[in-house]
Each structure stands twice: as structure tokens, then as C-alpha cells.
Amino acid sequence: MSDGSGTASFVDCDDDARFAQLYRGYFRPVHDFCRRRLTSDLVDDAVAEVFATAWRRLDSVPPGHAALIWLYRVAYREVGHQWRGTTRRRRLQTRLSSMARRPAGAAEELAIDGFEHHLVLEAAARLGGRDAEVLRLAAWEELSPIDIAATLDITANAASQRLHRAKRNLAREYRRLEALQSPSATPPEGGVR
């Protein structure tokens, strides 16, 4: 299989072609998966680890859509490893600059969305780790309960129950945080709600 690069030595090898197929098909979702869970300075390393694992374990990667779930499973473990590594070299400047970045959009929408996003992410952060994870997988990776179950190595029934509970708890936390916002408090930067 050619990836369009014209690299003869690359296209001659079945494993290379299989890897290229995985990579081209799933780099973006794996990158997004890591981006959603890691600080920006750790994303590239995590993605590289996921694909390095895929390369080493190419025979274990299932075909079709299941390959993406396999990669998500590896990425989920890798994200855990990244966060447990307390002495990793990290890049403070990237961290701080990414925090300063604002979402694109019209000014008014930006202010409202920014405030809502702040609240909802804060609410999600207050949930238990597994509850927050099923929410991310459902809302951001757009996985079905069956695929969530495969990613987290739990039963589909458990995934469904956990998702239902997590949605309810997220809303409860969101409303609680919203109620804490005093009407007389200084509005968030950029506008009023």
C-alpha cells in the first residue's frame, strides 16, 4: 500500500503498509484523544508511544474499527503513565501559552462559551476519574457504550450505567458551580453572562 510518499522501501513491506494504514487512518483521533487528556507538551510523546506500541504489537492490532478501540486502549494506559511520571521533562512555556490561548469565534460567543466551558470542565474535574473518563469517551471520542466498555475493559452494561450516572453527576456539579456564581461577582474576562 502506498502512502503517496513514493518511498519504495516503505511500500515493499507488508508490516510497513499495515502501519501506514493505521497511522493515516487513526493518527488524528489518537492525537485528539491524548490532547484532551494531557497538557500540550506531553501530547506528542504520548502519541509516539501509542504508535510505537502499535508497531511493536502489529500482530495484535485487530482489523477495521476495532483497531481504533485498540489504539484508544493503549492511549488510555499511556495517558495514565504520563500522569504518573512526576519527574518527566515538561515544557512550562508551552503549558502557560496554551492556557492563555482562547477559542476562536465571535467575541460575544467566545465570552459565553468560555464561561460555560470553564464551568463544565470544572464540573467534570470534580467527578471520579472513571466517571469523567466515560464522559470524555462518549462526548469527545463519540464512542458507543460497547466501545467505551472495550476501551476501559469493563462490561457494556457497566459502561452504560456509568455513563448514565456520570451525565447526571456532571449536570449536578455544573448547576452547583453555576449557583455559586454571585450575580454581583466580577464577570469572566471578555463579557457578561
Binding site: A20, R57, A104
Partner: protein, 374 residues
Amino acid sequence: VITDDEVMRVFERADPARREPAAAPIDAADYLEAVRARESGTDVIVVDLEPVKHGPPSPRRWLIAAAAAVAVVLFGAGVLVWSATGEDGTSAPAGPATSSTALTAPERALSLTGPPPSSPEPGELVAAISFSHLSEMGSALGWVDGWLNVYADGRVIAGGFLPNQRTGGHELSEQRLTADGVERVRQEFVATGAFDGGGPLPGDSRVLYACQCNIRVRDGGLLLDTATGGFSEPTIAVDPELVRRIDHLVRFVSDLGSSLPATAWMAREARPYVPSKFRVGVWVEGAVNQADPDLSARLRQTLPTPLVDRLDAQGWVHTPWGDSVDVTLADAREVAASLAQPGTVPRSSGAQWRLPGSWTHLSLNPILPDGNPP
């Protein structure tokens, strides 16, 4: 009142990846080349990944990689030079005469050899910091990783770049403070204001995002901890004054010998820290459940049977991320010695190995006096 479904839709729109520009695609062949290079142990090349470039990899890529490797080496040398030089440009006191060239990677990482184990074995943690800090080194700017624990009995145990230079190559060091010295250090931690009720504890993410630090300090009978609990993005603005105070703390602990007066020290000169216990970790790379179902049998293929029997007798702790068991210094030494054999793949840290013919990894981590690894 906003409904549950509406909140979920807000959460969907809050996807951090949606706010990011699309990840730059990288040519698959180039990526595979980088992955293979990474597999061969040259991690440096992975940072050389660039946006899509069609055509075969150019020789320039390897020149860039080589330049990056040289830069890393120079950076490492810079760190060592910087660590041995005080702010006034004078050289720090020379460490013990131990030759670092005689030490193997596991010996450097784990202090498997050296003086007798530190005593007493247990100790009450008073203050601890781990950091990855951007520091000026002459005209250069570099990242410095390190950690330091202070115990009530006066022990200061540290790891990172500083001890490596001052303990003859060992990556763990031990010094001793007086009771007054311990209190001075504790006060410096408290003075950061990181524990002043600005956020819930544990899990005050301000500190992590201020300096990539984790800070703990004992205050009022409690060990306060800034460790974050989950994977969530930061939603708390970082206070510049907090950043400044934490920067000060990092500088303070980075050269504690100079930060404290001589009267605060019982033993200012660093010696290798030799742990009494180590934690053996075993996990299967890429597996959904990383605990190895054939753990004992797998280990018996590489380690002596009596040693595996002793590990089993300690009682393995099983988690989805792998298995672990705490062992004595003598058993840790035997594990490391047994792994120095053909077919075993040592990992870059010096304290990890991939077992022959398998995807099972084994790591050794020192157990500090508070009962936890660094």
C-alpha cells in the same frame, strides 16, 4: 434550570481538541522511521517530527537529528557544569572520590552498591517537592528535573541532576539537617501559600500548572499535598505571585547546601542514599490488563527460582497497570544481577528491563523512608 442533556452538550462543545488547530499531519513513512529510531533507543529523533514532507527522508533529517543529539549531550554537560558551579561562579565542593565510570546504570539509578543502607528505615515525611523547572544555565535555558524529601529525623533525600554530580554518579543522595534546619525548610514550603485555602485539597491544580511541581508539607499534623487527582485540564487561573513564590522554593531546594546556614546541617556533604527496600514492578506492555497472568512462571524463566519464591512470599499487589512487590536491598541486588544477561533489554532509565522473549517489563524503584517510591 439547565437540564442534564444541555449540560452534556456544553461538555461536548468544551472539547479541548476542538479549540486546537488540526494536528499537523506527518508523512507515515517519516513517522515509521522515527518510531523505528525510537525503538533503537534514540528518543531524540522523535522530536524531529515535522509536518508532511513528501519524498524519501532527506539526509538533512539525520543531520538535524544528529544536531539535536549533540544539543542534548551539550545540555546534559551544561547541567552538570551548572550544578557544580555556584551562583558566584565558584566550584561547589567536590563530592566523594567514588568514580561514576565504575557504576552500571542500575547502580547509578538505584544505589544498589555503596555504603550500608540509610537508617532508620522508616521516617516521617515533613516536606517534599518534585519539579521540572526552566532554569538559566549561563546564557542557555534548560529544563531541570529533580525531587527532594525532608524527614523529621533530619534526612534530606534527593534525586535528579544535583546528587548525580555530588555522590560519585549515584542518582540518589542523602544529607542530614538539624531539627532547626528541618523547621526552616518546612517554613519555606508553607510560605509558598500553595496551601492557603485557594482550592480543594488534595488536588490543587494551581501548583502543577504553575511550575510542573508537586509539593507536600506537614502542617498542623496533616501532610498537605498539591497532587492533582485526575486527567482534567486546568480550569484555575495561575496566580503570578504563587508562581514567583514557587520559583523561589525551587531555587531554594535546588541548592539546599547554600540556601541554609552551616548551623542548620548535621551532615551537609551529600552521600549516596542506599535504600533498605525496593519495589519490583512487572507489567505487560500494550495489554488491556497489564498484570501478567503468568507472573511467577514468567519470572522463573529469567530469575533464580529461590528468588522468585521469595518475591511470591512477599505477596504481589495486583492492579490493572501491573503487579508489584516490595523486596529487600539484597533481593533487589539479586534481581538486578540476574537481569544482566543476554536477551534482556535494559531500558533507558537504568532501572527497567524487558524480559527475554516477552513484552513483560520489570522495574526496580527505591522505597524511601516514608514507604513510597520517589
